[in-house]
């Protein structure tokens, strides 16, 4: 393996890993705080990409504002869905939330196929050009996207550590009953977390949609990746999701280039299986009963 190839794969790995981490952090927030299985998480990633597509390719409005609009729209959709569909299921067996979100997948992805059409679409990039790093070509676009994702993850970390709402979120995910005794409105935290988590997926969708292309069926693959990462890192753990995202990103980048995408999946799942066997609640996870 030549050095330039290695650098290329590393850069792609970081890029993919950060974006996976964005989706997975959203999912892990929802998981940790509400203790439900949000199986339709990837659908918000898809919807987010389409919002940006309509904003910047159809309406020709500025790109970066579009990401904000997309995140805002998906935040509202997520929060409303939480209030309508998931609140009644709170405290019940996780199978019920799994079933409801599975229904959501059917509705959103087929609804997407009907509304957006099956044609593959692309969001025009705003950053062009690139630079040669150790023999590998690194586009400015990927660089900007990597930095943007990393900044967002950092911002979220500060939000969770420093702000009152963020601390309330961590408290609820630690112990819902005790935190409500401390005067935290857990119901409010639930919809905020759901909206925020979905919005993070939407941002990832916007970034991924710019790099690659968008189709209404792309949501499920994102769900698969997000679940792999969240389980790898441990449910409810933000650092776990970041590290898990990078692990899966690197596996995807290296194995897909060197062998094939099928093997990348196999290795990814085998890694998860092995980690779960030795650490039954993921790398940094909390134990559930």
């Amino acid at each position: 393996m030549a050095l330039d190839e290695f650098t290329q794969m590393t850069l792609t790995g970081i890029n993919l890993g950060l974006m996976y981490a964005l989706i997975a952090i959203g999912l892990t927030l929802i998981f940790g705080i509400m203790r439900i299985i949000q199986y339709a998480h990837g659908e918000f990633y898809m919807l987010g990409a389409y919002v940006l597509y309509y904003w910047s390719s159809v309406l020709k409005l500025p790109y970066w504002l579009g990401i904000l609009v997309s995140a805002g729209t998906i935040f509202v959709i997520g929060a409303v869905l939480q209030l309508v569909l998931f609140r009644p299921l709170h405290g019940k067996n996780i199978l019920y939330s799994l079933a409801v979100s599975m229904g959501l997948i059917f509705i959103i992805s087929s609804g997407g196929l009907l509304t957006f059409g099956t044609v593959v679409k692309g969001i025009p990039s705003v950053v062009t050009g690139g630079v040669s790093v150790l023999g590998a070509f690194y586009t400015y676009e990927r660089m900007v996207i990597s930095i943007f994702s990393a900044t967002l993850i950092l911002a979220l970390w500060f939000f969770l550590q420093r702000t009152t709402t963020g601390m309330a979120m961590r408290a609820v995910s630690e112990d819902p009953e005790v935190s409500s005794l401390q005067g935290i409105n857990t119901r409010r935290i639930h919809w905020i977390a759901f909206g925020l988590g979905s919005a993070l997926a939407a941002v990832a969708g916007c970034l991924m949609g710019t790099l690659l292309s968008i189709v209404p069926t792309m949501g499920f693959i994102a769900t698969v990746k997000a679940f792999m990462i969240v389980i790898l890192g441990g449910l409810g753990s933000v650092p776990g999701a970041l590290i898990g995202g990078l692990i899966i990103g690197f596996i995807d980048s290296f194995v897909t280039t060197l062998i094939s995408a099928d093997v990348a999946y196999i290795i990814g799942f085998v890694t998860i299986f092995v980690i779960l066997v030795f650490k039954p609640s993921g790398l940094f996870g909390q134990q559930w009963d």
Binding site: F31, A99, M228, D262, F269, L276, W288
Partner: protein, 325 residues
Amino acid sequence: MTENTKMATGVWVAAVAFAFLLPVICGYDKYILHVGITIAFNIALATSMWLIWTLGFISFAHAGFMGIGAYTSALLFTSLGWSLWINMWIAAAVAALFAFVISIPLMRTRAVYFFMASWAVGEVIKRVFAYYRGIFGGWDGIFNIRPPKIDIFGLDINFTSRVAYYYLALVCCALIVFAIHRIIRSRTGAIYWSIHESEILAQHVGINVLKHKVIAFTTACFFAGMTGALYAHYHTYINPKTFDIWQSEFSLVHIIVGGLSTLNGPVLGATVLTIVDELLRPAGWYRVIFFGVVIILTVLFLPGGLETVPARVRALVARLRGRSD
């Protein structure tokens, strides 16, 4: 035997009788028989998945084990020419063997983690089929798997006939459901539910939880493998896509919509949803949307599933008659 169980037995007998008479009733209509066979497969899958659920967890590797059964049977047929009569049992045994080996580490995980780990197992099985083109035919799958024949005692049945295969599927499905019914009604079944209720408590009264989990998982996968073999020889063509996560998810949806607490649930759910799915076929993509709406509405407004409908209707009738009972 209470009034209710007597009635339930009656309904079961009537349902099986109806299933056996279906070809005559529908005038040997090929399409209806095809739906019937699909229902039989779905019931077999859903009930065997439900057997795992009685211990309190859901395995998303179920379609993967069905795939192991299907591929075993298909390969035995295409390479050695063995018929379904032998392959079915070997397929089930191979699926059970894999299930047994994998379940020992798998059972270390709990709740959501189990669900994900089993998903990983199912996905690896599918991708292995897809990756090894030489043996499993890659994403293209395996072709030309033929249904078996019977030629003994002057009896000559070719199972390429829809009606014959319908009866084969029906008998196997009934056997699987009956076997699971017997397991759940036995002392072992009581142990399973006790593990479902509280694993720690079960352990403290001296139940070997790991042993029971492994056995139940292996048994369920045995049935799944058998279903897979029947599936392969019916469709004559299999590919990895058939056995992916969606197959397991549909079985899970059948169980949830049907009801989780008795064996009636998965049977009812698989039957009703397969029929609904077929009826909606002309609707194109709207069919999938409708399916999603049905799932969500059932979970939100009919939490016990379809199996609770008779009790609900009875309660409603009683209320209308002005009886508080």
